[in-house]
Subunit: 211 residues, 2 copies
DNA sequence: CGGTATCCAATATGATACTG
DNA sequence: CAGTATCATATTGGATACCG
């Protein structure tokens, strides 16, 4: 990307991460941790391999990521965020929080991944009742599965299945994510296809959307 | 910009504001308030008029800005941020804070404006001694002038001159801004050309960089 | 002042093939 | 698997001219 040529920290930041795909690559590295080229490609549906390759070089030159030779079992290169790259987390959080307002439009051919299901509640909701015992919620949205644990004032999340969840939320991504991030209420979520198994009222009352 | 086609709030946000120039247009509207096409053009050195025009239409379609007919004295269209547009302020703050790390490279042909001098201390520094009487600091960097007032726990800023400042900081933008945002110390700033008039130690001790 | 219109250059996309 | 390479096409951006 050509530089904006402005001595302003916002313009400077955009000189580095304003290119198409760049911030989404950082998102993947942030959500996955160090990972391989193919992992990144899978997490970025639609990106061309040559473009991904170019961007990774640019990010390395800018000092945002590093290439590490993985130890024997993997025996390949892992891309990882440096400290400067990790420092973008607040930017992605702010952007993602702002972007929630556009999540009501779920288009039929949108890609969707368990990882994106997981980060939303972890980043955009908190535990309003830190002293209550931890609660585990299984999320199933548009076929993708994630687990959140609410407890100690925080919400933690990961992709996958829980053995014995206190609550299961299942339905279209728009319903599950909308409910968890506070964009819509339980009635509206149910109206667009959410189903619950377990003590929904108790657990959901603890979730407080940030902002 | 073509959509990323991902049901993820970060990708959705970038679908709307990920285009080149878009966030800088929002920056200008945020720093200036409602303003005219020409004002935006002046605040965005390097932007082509057709591109600015296109972006303004896109931003209007996305609901981030509105076009208002200004009252008689001005008699033209004013562009203003809507609530959705104003809500981008945390994004720009996060991006600008992150971008400070690239401000040590000041290129000779960079554009620089008083407004960009003003927002940095206001956004990225706080008053560490809220109970002390307010202090007024005149900034002069690379020929651009701004005033900051430190008091009540906050730092406020505007472009222009102060009648009777407690301190005058003058020098290259890199020195003045670096000092105010905590990137460099007073000795380093002096070393690259900063001059001070007034009680520098007292006033600067009150400035605490955020983050 | 507030834009449109036009043209050229640069970049992105997408497909596919190829290599160690 | 982890890319690099190449090519065709589409879209975008930049510069400039122009106009009500």
């Amino acid at each position: 990307m050509r530089s904006y040529g402005q001595y302003c920290s916002i313009a400077r930041a955009l000189d580095v991460v304003g290119d198409r795909w760049t911030l989404l690559i950082v998102r993947e590295l942030l959500l996955r941790g160090p990972c391989r080229f193919t992992d990144l490609k899978n997490g970025l549906p639609g990106v061309a391999t040559n473009l991904l390759s170019t961007r990774l070089k640019e990010l390395e030159d800018a000092g945002l990521i590093s290439r590490e030779d993985a130890p024997p079992p993997v025996a390949t290169v892992l891309y990882a965020l440096t400290d400067d790259g990790l420092a973008l987390e607040p930017v992605l959080k702010a952007l993602g929080l702002w972007g929630l307002r556009f999540m009501d439009a779920e288009r039929p051919d949108d890609a969707f991944q368990a990882r994106w299901l997981a980060y939303a509640p972890a980043w955009f909701a908190t535990d309003a009742d830190p002293d209550a015992p931890p609660a585990v919620v299984q999320l199933i949205a548009s076929g993708e599965e994630a687990v959140i644990e609410i407890g100690g004032g925080e919400v933690r999340a990961r992709a996958g299945r829980a053995a014995d969840p206190d609550l299961v939320l299942e339905g279209p991504a728009r319903a599950v994510l909308g409910l968890l991030t506070g964009v819509i209420g339980i009635d509206a979520a149910t109206g667009i296809g959410l189903t619950t198994r377990g003590r929904a009222a108790d657990v959901l009352a603890r979730l407080r959307p940030v902002g």
